[in-house]
Structures are given as structure tokens and as C-alpha cells.
Symmetry: C2
């Protein structure tokens, strides 16, 4: 197994045998370990000592379902802390098949301070493929995971995600009063039904003359939640209209027109912008009066300014917190410099605990308590009740760190948290590849070890418990329709990682 | 003695008797104590829970020389930490004469998120004046301070400051290789002589046909270091052309034309912009290619954009670090979000220790080791040698906190650090007002107590030793002409306040 290092200073590469301490790691566990070990915590994120590590998951490249994931790790220019981004893609399988456990981009050309893109051409012809320590065990585990995914209402074919995509959540969160609207000034959007997953399904049906189910974002996915929005003439407009994008560029900007939202998503994709951070940034600019809430054409114009790098575009390109600061606003929904996603923490307290305490900033995928608080997956919890949410978030954050390492998409959690054999199957898959003897009891321990590494990096980079807090306005401004504030006490937030 | 509270929420005011715990405090010691006690460390600086405290010094309002100082304290929107700004003004005397120890602005009107100015109208007709515990002791101390100021070469009439103003330092720092030039890319500026204090004195002489000595910035000052630059026709252009402004808008931008520098200073004064932060911000914009280094007309245009609040102006208005981030630069000379002033820390190591460890960000006035390293005041130290600089900075920071509380201008330090009777006189003045029994041995203890309060506030606001660091590029980029990096070890930086 190899580390492939690409040195940007002198344009050389190096293949290194993977150190034995890293042999049971993959995905997020590996990328976070590499960044922790090799990047000085006080390095400037755009300077010569930051690195970018791409790591396939443990079972990536095998026939394990929904597992073509890559973990990208670095010190983040947005948060100033460690960052892991996890995505589905075909080339993660290719790397894994060539026994490359990590592709590490390091160094910096002499010509500094210029932005650049990453272009990878991967050719795995003749690659040996992923090796198994125990193929039979892997196959046994794989079958259990497949069965769980094919059975659960959320993940099965023609189930919620395959039919409506992640945007199925628009109506659900709106109903719960937890859909952040017009820069987090309400938890309910009067235009929700017009942008919901159901509206996407029905709109496509009308424009295409047939029912359209969703597709896989990467090879080997059973869930297949990626939708495509079509223009009135039936041609493709944007893929995928995720819940998060639909919300951030829609409800959170007061925009209820799916065609305009699709156009905004296309522009984000084209310019290489994160749709969540971009939508929340535009909403903050709307609050500052740059364009009015609901002005979708104005939003499209602002997105072009970001792409063109005009002065206004450079403000918006700095993200939500940066834009809030440029305009002197106090209502800026960020933690550790990263914008909140599509769940109002005042109306769903557990996700607020995750936003506050995650190593990644306000990231729902870091500990998706929504599963339990809103979808009743893995148990039930009242979203408005602050009690017990530290433990809930802690459990989700640790399990997530494990799943993000396994190589599976986090969405398998919907199935495997409800179906115990699925959870066991996921661990058996990993054991089948690595030769480890893990049980489901190890998931929390292994996940916690990863989180601990990430938090130690952040601590050395200057983060303290003062950074594990939601923005102040959420403690004194009541959110309609429930008229609630975020009332999880600081000491409860501190207890999430108190034991690390 | 009174606290006068102005409540902006309901436009009311309240006079409170000063709590006995605060009775021996004044200036910075008092403003920092009030902010520490009353502002939640995680309050949004522009939100309803920040406060602004204006505190005259202990001897302000008396006949003590050079003592018409006001200390303004708040949680800073620039650094996110506690902030004390100390200035000469006539109304500090007026407040003190009315026995107002602190003017505290608190609350926020309902109409939020709009910038505003502070306009004070003070009428002290019939005010009782400052009361003395021991007038004879005060008079004795006052005489010693006056004698020191009238004797020392730097502070005496027609001495260095009265003749050339603070800009006398331009040639001195340039000679030492410590005058930051073109965004801290060199320690020597080829145009230094054209913008130096000597050039200001000679230029005025030519334009006015006579020698012009400087004036007092506030009533009762013996040093009188405020200069005025005159236009070719002999009319006033800018007052004062301080060393820091002359450098930041001059050498650091590659500008060597005093008339253009004066115009930039006028614009900063008119728009209410800090000249140091503005000059270093423009230099960073120049490094980003917005206008070329040396383009003074371009700089004037950028300053108007700041005043007009254009998108570019909002970037620049966010300060040096903010502008560096907007343009993705790594060479950004800030600590805790605040720009460095006119001393290159790679060439003058002690001031680098102050920049790194001060509670205020990169502030030379927080611990002016330049006095010893460059001017041989209060001893001598080799500026290029990193040895012994933690102790030097620690001593200066503590003494400064005391002087900033006494009500004296920090510039009396030049005299009283070299003339022991002057230092004793300063303490006797305070004892004469307060009835305390302090000796010069108490200066360090009292100063350290103030610094400790400030650092505790910052710690609760999220600062750690990771924030007590200079920017990374200064550790790997060699500064001409001495080709030196900043090489004070981190553990030495941590030792400055290790004992607090």
C-alpha cells in the first residue's frame, strides 16, 4: 500500500510505503491523521506548509455498496482548523485499485498567491485492485449492508431519497419550524412547497411527461439520491439539486423559484463554489441590503461577481462570516468561520450542539442528529428540548467519523442505525479488507480517536471552548414560529468533548 | 467620584458612585477593569452587549505635565479581544474636573447594524476640579516630572520631538534596517530622507520662511511633539504627520512624497480611519496588485473608496488582515487581527515580542522596547539579537500599563526611564491624588495586574498562545538589508506571560 506524494515546489512525485501505524486507517481517519502529523497547526492555509491529502475509504474500490468515497483533508482557509471533506467520485475507486491509500499534494510553486484548481487524470489500467484479508467475511458483511439499504424506507429503490432526493427534507423541516429562512430569521418559509423535493419530482414529471427517479452520484451506489432538474423544454438544467443547495440558495434567500435556484446551483458548480456557503453568504448580503431578499436575478448577478472576482465578488467569496464582517452585521450564522447549513439550531437543539462542537465548524454532516430528532432514525428525540443533546451529538459525531473512514457514504447511516445487521455488516466489510477484529462496539472508540486527533490539531491552531459556541444572536433573538432561542447551556456544550 | 452611564437603548443616563474596588484605578487600569467586569468575552463587538468606557487618567485634570489623556476601552471589532486606546484631548480634563472617573456608553438602539459616530459635548462650568489627598506630595512629584521632561534630549523644548516630531524616527529606523518598506518586504526605504522628520522641518522652513517648532496635542503638554505640514503656499495641510502615519502611508506603500502623504493623512482624519491600519491595508492591496507600490494618487483614490463605502472600500475598511484574506495573500503583517506598526520585528526582535504577546495585537505602544533597542533609553540592547527580549518586553509592557493608567502620555517614559527622580515623581503625583503609598517598585506589580485582567478577558474570548505569534512568513522570509528572520523561539514568547 502506498502514499503518492506530489511535490508542487519542484514538480516531482514519490511513492512511499504506508507506515504501519496508518495501515488500518482510511478515508477521514487517514486524511486527518496525515494532516495532524504533517501540517504545522499555525501554518498559513495558503502558504507553503499546508498540504492536501486525498484518501479513499477502507472499503472504497470494492463491491461494497455506496462506497466510492474520497476524503480530502487540509488545514482550512475558511475555518483555520483541520478540515475533512467527503465526496462520492469514481476516481477514489481507481486510486484504491492501485493500492494508493493517500494522494498527498504538498509544497508550493515559486509563483505564490495565485489561485489554482486541482485536475487529476487517473489511469488504473492493470491495477491489482483492492486486496482482501478475508474475502468471505467481506462478502458476508456486504450482503448485510446491501440488505439494509434495500429495505429501509429512506434508502431503498423508489424510497424517499431515490424518489425525491435529499430535497425531500424541505417540507419536513419547514413543518418542524426548523427550515432557516431569510438569513435565519424564521424557521418556516411560505414558499417551501414550491421548492420541495416533491415539487422537483412533479415538475420534472410535467416537463418530461414521465416519472423520473434519481441516479447515483458515483459508481456502485444503491441509494441513488442525485436528482436532475429539467428546463421547461425538457433539457437538463442542474444536477444535483440537493436539499442543502435548494435551501441555501432558495428559502434562506427568500427565493421560491426552482428554475432560478437551479441556475444559481449551475453557477456555483461552474465557478467551483460551495453551494451552502454561497447561499448563506448571499443571504447575509441581502440582510445588508446589497440586493433584496427574494431577488433571484440579483442573486444570479452577485454569483457572477464572485466568479469574476470583482471587489463585491471578493467580499462574497470570503464566505458568510467574512461578508457579515464587511457589512458590520451581528446576525451572521457561523461557527468557527463556517456557515450553518439547512437546520435551525434554535428549533433543533441537537444539531446546534453538533454545529458548536464539531471540529469542522457548523457542519451538519459531522453529527447528523436530525436523523433522530426529525426523522426518528436510531431512536427519537424532541428537537425543541435541549435535554440529552450532548450525548446524542457525541454519539453521532463518533459514528460519523467511523463511517467517513469506512469509505461508505454517510447516508447508509439511515439504514444501518435502524437495522442492526446492517451496522454489523459495515464492520465486517472493514474487517474483511483489513484483517481487523472490530465489532460494532469499536465504532464509537475508533470514531472518537479520530475526533480527538482533529481536536488536538484545532487546539494547537488556537481553538478553545470559546469557539465551541453558536453566534450570540441565537441566544437572544426568538425564532418563529416556535419563538425559541438556543438554550443548550455552555457547560453542556463543553461536556460533549469533556472526556477526550 | 462618579461613573456616568449613557444608555443607548432608552437614551437615559445614570450617575453611580464609583465602587471602592475601583477607587485607585484610572485610565487604562480602569477602562480595562470595567470592560473585563461588564462585557461578556464572547459578546459580538457590534452587538448590544459590548460597552465603550472612557476613563481619564489618575492625574488627568491636574497640573501634572503631559497628562490630558483619555483611555477608551471596549471589546475590539478588529481583534476580537479587549482594547484600550489612549489619546491626548482637552475633554478628559473636563471629565476629571467633574469627578467623573468613567463615562460608560452601553446598550444599543433598536435600529441596529448601522455605523455611528461618537459626539461629546462637555461643559464643566462650576465643576469642583480634581481633589488631592496630599497636594504637597503631588506638587513635589510634579516638579520632578517637569524637570525630567525639560532636561531629557528627546522631550525637552527644541529637543528631538519638539523639533522634528515623532517622524524623527524615520531616518533612525531606516539606518537600523528596521523601517518596514513596501508591505514589510525590506527594512530600508530609498526614499526615507524625503519623508523624514528632518525633511518636514526643512520643508516647512522653506515654505514658511522661518523655523517652526511643534505644538501640544492637548493642554498642559511640555513635550509638544505635534507637527503641522504646510502646503507650498504656506497654508496648513495636515496636522499631525506622526512617524507612524508618515511611515504607513509613505515608506510602507513605497510613497516618498510628503504632500501626498499629508493628503492621505487628512483623508484618514476626515473619514475617521486609523492611519497605521489604513496604510498597512493599502500596502497589502498594493501587494495584491490593486494599485502599484508608490502610486500615491492610486492610494488617495482607494482612501476615498473607504470613505464612500464602495465594495473595494468595504474590503479595505475591514483592515489589513481582512484585505489580505480577500486577496488570498500570505504576506500579511498582523497579530491578533491588528496590523504591525512602523518597526520591523525581524530587525528589532524585542518589539516583535511585544507585537506577539501584547493583549492589544501588534501594538508598539503596548511595550515600546524600541526605546532601549534603538534609542538607548533605559539601557541598551542589540536589536538583532533575540536574547533577553522576553524580559525586556515584559518590563516595558508592565510599565506601560501603569503609565497609561497614570494619565500621562507614554512619551514621558523617554525621560523618566533615564532620570530616576522623574520616575519617582510620577508615582508621587499619583499618591498625591489618590492617597496611596506606592513606590517605584509598585509600578511593575500594578502594571502586571492590569495586563493579567486583559489577558484573562482575551483567554475567555478564545485567545491562546497560538495567537501570541507573528505571521508565519516572517519566520522563513529573510528581510533585507540584514537578511534576518524572526527567530525568537515560541517558548520564549510563551515565557513573557508564563508567570501570570
Amino acid at each position: 500500500m502506498w502514499f503518492l506524494r506530489l511535490n508542487m515546489t519542484d514538480q516531482t512525485f514519490k511513492l512511499e510505503e504506508v507506515p504501519t501505524t496508518y495501515k488500518d486507517l482510511g478515508g477521514r481517519g487517514l486524511s486527518s491523521s496525515i494532516i495532524s502529523a504533517e501540517v504545522p497547526p499555525l501554518a498559513h492555509p495558503l502558504g507553503p506548509f499546508n498540504k492536501l491529502a486525498f484518501c479513499p475509504g477502507i472499503v472504497t474500490g470494492t463491491a461494497a455498496p455506496t462506497s466510492s468515497r474520497i476524503s480530502a483533508g487540509a488545514k482550512s482557509p475558511l475555518t483555520g482548523g483541520i478540515k475533512e471533506s467527503n465526496a462520492g467520485t469514481s476516481w477514489s475507486r481507481d486510486l484504491a485499485s492501485m493500492k494508493i491509500k493517500a494522494l498527498i499534494v504538498e509544497g508550493q510553486p515559486k509563483e505564490k498567491d495565485r489561485f489554482s484548481g486541482v485536475y487529476l487524470v487517473v489511469n488504473n489500467a492493470g491495477a491489482p485492485g483492492v486486496q482482501f484479508a478475508d474475502k468471505a467475511l467481506f462478502d458476508q458483511g456486504r450482503k448485510k449492508v446491501v440488505d439494509a439499504l434495500m429495505t429501509h424506507d429512506i434508502t431503498k429503490p423508489k424510497g424517499a431519497l431515490n424518489t425525491y432526493g435529499t430535497a425531500v427534507l424541505i417540507n419536513i423541516l419547514n413543518e418542524a419550524g426548523g427550515l432557516p429562512t431569510r438569513n435565519f430569521s424564521s424557521g418556516r418559509f411560505e414558499g417551501a412547497a414550491k421548492i420541495a423535493g416533491e415539487a422537483i419530482f412533479e415538475g420534472n414529471k410535467q416537463r418530461l411527461g414521465k416519472e423520473l427517479y434519481n441516479h447515483a452520484c458515483s459508481p456502485g451506489c444503491i441509494i441513488q439520491c442525485s436528482n436532475t432538474w429539467h428546463k421547461p423544454d425538457g433539457t437538463e438544467h442542474a444536477s444535483c439539486v440537493e436539499y442543502e443547495s435548494d435551501w441555501s440558495l432558495g428559502a434562506n434567500c427568500g427565493i421560491d423559484n426552482l428554475d432560478d435556484i437551479a441556475e444559481l446551483i449551475c453557477l456555483c458548480n461552474g465557478y467551483g463554489l460551495d453551494t451552502i456557503e454561497t447561499g448563506t453568504t448571499i443571504a447575509v448580503a441581502m440582510e445588508a441590503g446589497v440586493v433584496p431578499f427574494g431577488d433571484s436575478k440579483g442573486a444570479i448577478k452577485l454569483l457572477h461577481e464572485m466568479g469574476d472576482g470583482t471587489p463585491m465578488g471578493r467580499i462574497l467569496g470570503g464566505g458568510t462570516e467574512f461578508t457579515g464582517r464587511a457589512f458590520g452585521l451581528t446576525r451572521v450564522p457561523t461557527v468557527k468561520g463556517q456557515s450553518m447549513p439547512a437546520y435551525e439550531p434554535r428549533a433543533v437543539k441537537g444539531i446546534g450542539v453538533t454545529y458548536a462542537t464539531s471540529t469542522m465548524g457548523a457542519d451538519h454532516t459531522a453529527g447528523y442528529t436530525i436523523a433522530t430528532e426529525i426523522l426518528s432514525v436510531g431512536g427519537k428525540a424532541d428537537p425543541l428540548n435541549p435535554e440529552g443533546k450532548a450525548a446524542l451529538s457525541r454519539g453521532f459525531q463518533a459514528a460519523t467519523a467511523f463511517i467517513d473512514s469506512s469509505g461508505h457514504c454517510l447516508f447508509i447511516a439511515f439504514a444501518v442505525l435502524d437495522i442492526p445487521s446492517g451496522l454489523a455488516g459495515m464492520v465486517e466489510e472493514c474487517n474483511g479488507v483489513l484483517g481487523t477484529k472490530w465489532t460494532t462496539d469499536d465504532i464509537g472508540r475508533i470514531g472518537t480517536e479520530i475526533l480527538k486527533k482533529e481536536r488536538m490539531f484545532n487546539e494547537a491552531a488556537g481553538f478553545t471552548k470559546a469557539h465551541d459556541r453558536l453566534p450570540e444572536f441565537m441566544a437572544y433573538e426568538k425564532l418563529p414560529p416556535h419563538n425559541v432561542v438556543f438554550d443548550v447551556p455552555d457547560k453542556v456544550l463543553d461536556s460533549v468533548y469533556g472526556e477526550l
